[in-house]
């Protein structure tokens, strides 16, 4: 039996291929004698490689989104239904790549000292392969692919969390990360095997169709639940969130930044895809089950957001504080993901995905900014304690004001992007009649005020031990500036971003047609394509 490889579809994975190539180069090039000296001299060449690769991936994704240079997003899933390279996935990839790019810059300009130059290639290849896994998460439409993508994103993350081998905290963080990750992926797999047992296929779309047609049962629920556990681990949803604060605290700050946004962006994209696909195929008979799943996911989101916000109260470490903040924000996003199937008459759930895209953009900007400031402060003071923020206004007013803006944006202050993100959520939740999600959103926002204000209070009122001016490299000004720009561009004039998100939130729900597959000299279509009712699914 041969499975044909449709080459035109492979091209749709151009961004991933760029990263893959860069990973290969990063692993091989330093051992090539002519280049060895160059890579031994500094992190520069390696960083340049990463930047080039990420920029290429970013550009190719944007090109595919915009239909530039003959590239376009395919109308069906590709590679026999393994991946969906639709505008939604591409948008998430754009976010992931751009963010990773900025994280690399952040690393280069603040914490590169923690990585030995000899380890640079390993480090960069881990970051790039992590980004690769995360972008696959955004595209996966097959359970096997889901599993692969999650693991592809996780393994580099485990290693990166423990990359700083000199510190005990780092090693402990990676230990916790890997153990919990392994346990949750094992549980997920058990659930996935159940799903396979029920439907005999690993493709999401036929599964959704069958589910819609046949309804839910308790055993099947285990399968769905397993899937949710796998995604929930990456999203740090309660109660699988425990790794998050510990890992965030233990890992180096740029890794924390990377994990807090890129990893969650991929995971939330996956969750949205799963929920959307389920919602898309729902029929009148089985609405109840889907509404139940959606409500449950929404409930998990509420609990996650509340937990994150409350637990953040007593944090004294800025990374830990931001870790809880990211848990809370993951909670908000999970709430919206739950909405995708929770509503009784979600005629067009695709309309909701744009709110998530918008939120991801804003979230990336404000989290990057906050972590960047934290990185600078940590570098200058050698400590990540909140106490180091005392008198930041006097030491570097720009950093203080920027940090204030990021925190208030995370809180959801009007005129910042965080506000519009939450308001969009609120609009959509209200619009779907899920008043309890609106209430939870509002209450959580109030809860969160306290701990977002705390660093501001310290920055403004606590007397610093020294008032030495903090010097900041131009690159860091760039990173913080870009984040600030993002926060205010989405806050003051949200229209452009909203429109962009609305244009690019479409997803495909069709499998590659038989004819496409046969032109590629395929003896048989993929297993999943035999699922009933594939041809007329797009309604």
């Amino acid at each position: 039996m041969t499975i044909g490889l449709p080459w035109s579809e492979v091209l749709t994975l151009l961004p991933e291929l760029c990263l893959l190539a860069a990973v290969c180069v990063a692993l091989i090039a330093p051992v090539l004698p002519p280049l060895r000296a160059m890579f031994r001299a500094s992190h520069g060449p390696m960083t340049a490689l990463a930047v080039v690769a990420l920029a290429a991936a970013l550009l190719s994704s944007i090109a595919m989104l915009g239909g530039w240079g003959g590239l376009s997003a395919p109308a069906d899933t590709v590679l026999h239904g393994m991946l969906a390279v639709d505008p939604f996935a591409l948008s998430v990839k754009v976010i992931i790549y751009a963010f990773t790019l900025l994280v690399v810059v952040l690393w280069m300009s603040t914490t590169r000292g923690s990585v030995r130059i000899a380890d640079g290639p390993d480090y960069i290849s881990l970051v790039l392969s992590g980004a690769l896994g995360m972008s696959l998460m955004a595209s996966a439409t097959n359970l096997l692919m889901v599993f692969l993508a999650i693991e592809a994103a996780s393994f580099p993350s485990y290693a990166l969390a423990g990359f700083n081998k000199q510190t005990r905290r780092s090693s402990e963080a990676s230990l916790k990360y890997v153990l919990i990750g392994a346990a949750s992926s094992a549980l997920m797999l058990y659930g996935l095997s159940m799903l396979y047992g029920y439907y005999g296929t690993l493709d999401l779309i036929p599964i959704a169709q069958r589910l819609a047609a046949e309804g839910m049962s308790a055993g099947l629920l285990m399968g769905v639940f397993g899937l949710l556990i796998g995604i929930g681990f990456k999203l740090s949803a309660v109660p699988i969130h425990f790794w998050c604060p510990d890992v965030f605290e233990g890992a180096s700050i740029e890794i924390t930044t990377f994990l807090s946004v890129a990893s969650k962006a991929g995971a939330i994209a996956l969750l949205v895809r799963v929920m959307m696909t389920l919602g898309h195929f729902s029929g009148e008979e089985t609405r109840g089950a889907l509404v139940g799943i959606g409500s449950f996911v929404g409930l998990v989101g509420v609990v996650t957001a509340t937990w994150g916000n409350l637990a953040a109260y007593f944090q004294t470490n800025v990374k830990r504080l931001l870790a809880y903040s990211s848990i809370a924000h993951a909670g908000y996003m999970i709430m919206l993901a739950g909405l995708l199937t929770a509503s009784m008459d979600n005629a067009q759930p695709a309309d909701l995905a744009y709110a998530l895209l918008f939120y991801l953009i804003v979230y990336a900007c404000m989290n990057l900014g906050a972590f960047a400031v934290a990185a600078v402060v940590a570098k200058e003071t050698g400590s990540e304690s909140l106490d180091e923020y005392a008198g930041l206004g006097q030491r570097n007013a720009f950093l203080a004001v920027a940090m204030g803006c990021f925190l208030l944006s995370l809180f959801g202050m009007p005129l910042t992007g965080g506000f519009w993100g939450k308001v969009r959520f609120g609009f959509e939740m209200w619009g779907e009649g899920m008043w309890w999600l609106v209430a939870a959103l509002v209450v959580n926002t109030v809860f969160s005020l306290y701990f977002y204000l705390k660093p501001i209070i310290i920055m403004v009122w606590k007397q610093p031990a020294s008032v030495r001016v903090m010097s900041v490299s131009p690159a860091m000004y760039g990173v913080v500036g870009v984040s600030l720009l993002g926060v205010f561009a989405t806050g003051l004039l949200p229209d452009r971003t909203t429109a962009w998100a609305q244009r690019h939130s479409a997803m495909v729900f069709t499998m590659p047609s038989q004819s496409d597959a046969t032109t590629q000299a395929v003896a048989e279509g993929p297993v999943s394509s035999r699922a009933p009712g594939v041809a007329e699914v797009d309604r």
Binding site: M413, P414, L415, V423, G426, F427, W430, G431, V438, V442, T445, V446, L449, Y450, L453, I457, V460, W461, L493, P494, D495, T498, A499, Q502
Partner: protein, 548 residues
């Protein structure tokens, strides 16, 4: 030209703030920049007012059917996806408060002239606050209003928190959290508007079926009213929204029981900030009630009249009692604000023209008198370094000219006729009694309607009127403890400690306004009456039967 002026009123302070923060500016330069900005804004405001009231029709300008009273409108689409506009303009409702703000700005910057600590930041934040306040009074789009409402919150938070007294952080956080809870209520109403308005709104007012946050259009649109009152069920959207808005604005006003942030904020805030807080920021709550709650939800307002009136009366009496219990001078004045703003709530609640006029006048009058009272306290506090009423005495002898001005300020607070505190109180009280007629005739869903209305209203009126006794009690008791009694050496000041001409200037200007407003209340009431008439058209049928 006037449209430009309106926008300049909003953005000139921001330019000033940037100027204060320029790397080259030093503290004294920043003070000058702030003062110049305030004066420029005041001049622009005066020009605007002259144009507004001098225009054809001017004061007696009455809109034809469908025409709005708002003029000098700038309407730019801001956020198209939600149909949010940058919509600003002035009418009679905003103009007097704007003038009050502009005048107080100049005085408050003068009052803050001796701020030593981080002067640049102080002035810059104050100018940002000015931006927010002017924005609140000028914006006609609900979302824009909300944004400015929030914008005015942040600088206030820092102004209290950085330049405040010993418990400044506590007070600042409390202030912030309270008003933020209010903002969230506001936000929920906005969510509701987003969904309800486009559903049924038709015609131009709702901007082609898209959601609209245009407060003027919302108030005038029949379809919107139907949407809010839809369903025939008891808990209409309008009622929910009215309650949420009321909580939000009552926190700002502040009405009992949402008031406890106020004493703390005032006690800890530096003098100029107390002045602006009492003088203008509290008024934003009352203004918002008049601009948003009542015109957009007339039926809910009628439904809620009794509860709101109770809140007003309780604020009056309770605030006065609490003021009497204070030994901290500033806290006493702060509670007096709670009591005085109760007349605003009461005047609005009863839905009579006289009540409304009284409420508005009370806001202006209280803006002058409370700012003055806080400044009077501040003048002494700067010298005596304490505010314990029981430790004062004999200031009349040691600071006679100051005490003379203090008498004007505090007696204005006491509601003495021919000073600015009186007309508002008496009008809202008269308006309260005036409500008997429409409530007697009102349909049964209006609380307390029917023949028993008279008893209810008279009880309310008696309770509200009893506020004048308590007010006299605490103000005069304070006056006795501070100013009367034999001269004491520790409060005898000479040389540089004497009240200086800057302080006299501030006090004298405020005293002058207190007297002008008291003697000639028509100066303010004439500015607002026609706007009220137009904005409150939904109530006019109600009132015409009553003859008010």
């Amino acid at each position: 030209m006037n449209e430009l002026f309106v926008n300049l009123m909003i953005f000139v302070p921001l330019i000033g703030a940037a100027g204060c923060l320029l790397p080259g500016s030093n503290p004294s330069l920043s003070k000058m920049i702030a003062m110049i900005t305030a004066v420029v804004v005041l001049l622009i405001n005066i020009a605007l007012a002259m144009a507004f009231y001098g225009e054809a029709g001017g004061n007696s300008y009455l809109p034809a059917g469908g025409e709005t009273v708002v003029r000098y409108i700038t309407d730019l689409v801001w956020i198209e996806s939600v149909n949010i506009h940058y919509l600003v303009g002035v009418d009679g409702l905003s103009m007097p408060l704007l003038l009050l703000t502009s005048i107080l700005n100049v005085l408050i910057i003068a009052a803050g002239w001796n701020v030593e600590k981080q002067t640049k930041a102080f002035m810059a934040l104050y100018l940002v606050l000015m931006f927010g306040m002017n924005g609140v009074f000028l914006s006609l789009d609900f979302f824009l209003f909300y944004v400015f409402f929030e914008v005015s919150l942040l600088p206030m938070y820092f102004l209290i928190g950085i330049w405040g007294g010993p418990r400044k952080e506590y007070a600042a956080i409390k202030f912030f959290i309270y008003t933020l809870v209010g903002s969230i209520c506001l936000l929920m109403v906005m969510l509701g508007f987003y969904f309800l308005v486009p559903d049924v709104a038709t015609g131009a007012a709702a901007a082609g079926g898209k959601p609209s946050f245009n407060m003027i259009a919302l108030a005038a649109d029949e379809g919107v009213q139907q949407a809010f009152n839809h369903g025939g069920q008891f808990w209409t959207y309008a009622k929910w929204f009215f309650i949420l808005l009321f909580i939000s604005f009552a926190i700002k006003v502040p009405a009992v029981p949402f008031h406890t942030w106020l004493p703390d904020a005032h006690v800890e805030a530096p003098t100029p900030i107390s002045m602006i807080l009492a003088g203008v920021l509290l008024k934003m709550g009352g203004y918002a009630l008049m601009r948003i709650s009542y015109p957009i939800f007339p039926d809910a307002a009628k439904w809620a009249w009794f509860a709101v009136a109770i809140v007003g009366v309780v604020s009056i009496v309770y605030g006065a009692f609490c003021a009497m219990a204070q030994t901290d001078w500033k806290k006493l004045v702060a509670y007096s604000s709670v009591s005085h703003m109760g007349y605003v709530i009461l005047g609005l609640a009863v839905l009579t023209e006289a009540g409304r006029n009284g409420a508005y006048f009370q806001m202006i009058g209280h803006g002058i008198s409370s700012a003055m009272m806080f400044f009077l306290v501040g003048v002494v506090y700067e010298r005596a370094h304490h505010r314990d009423l029981n430790r004062f005495g004999g200031l009349w002898n040691t600071m006679p000219a100051y005490t003379g001005l203090a008498a004007v300020g505090f007696f204005a607070g006491l509601g003495l006729p021919l000073l600015c505190g009186f007309p508002g109180e008496v009008l809202s009280l008269m308006g309260t009694f005036g409500a008997i007629s429409w409530i007697e005739a009102a349909p049964s869903w209006v609380p307390m309607s029917g023949p028993g209305a008279g008893t209810t209203i008279i009880t309310l009126g008696v309770l509200a009127a009893s506020g004048v006794i308590l007010t006299a009690g605490y103000i005069l008791w304070m006056f006795q403890r501070v100013y009367m009694g034999p001269a004491r050496p520790e409060y005898t000041y000479s040389g540089r400690d004497m009240v200086n001409s800057r302080e006299y200037f501030v006090m004298a200007v405020l005293a002058l306004f207190a007297i002008i407003l008291g003697v000639w209340p028509a100066s303010v009431l004439g500015m607002i009456s026609n706007t009220f008439n137009a904005i409150y058209a939904p109530f006019s049928s109600l009132m015409s039967t009553a003859g008010f």
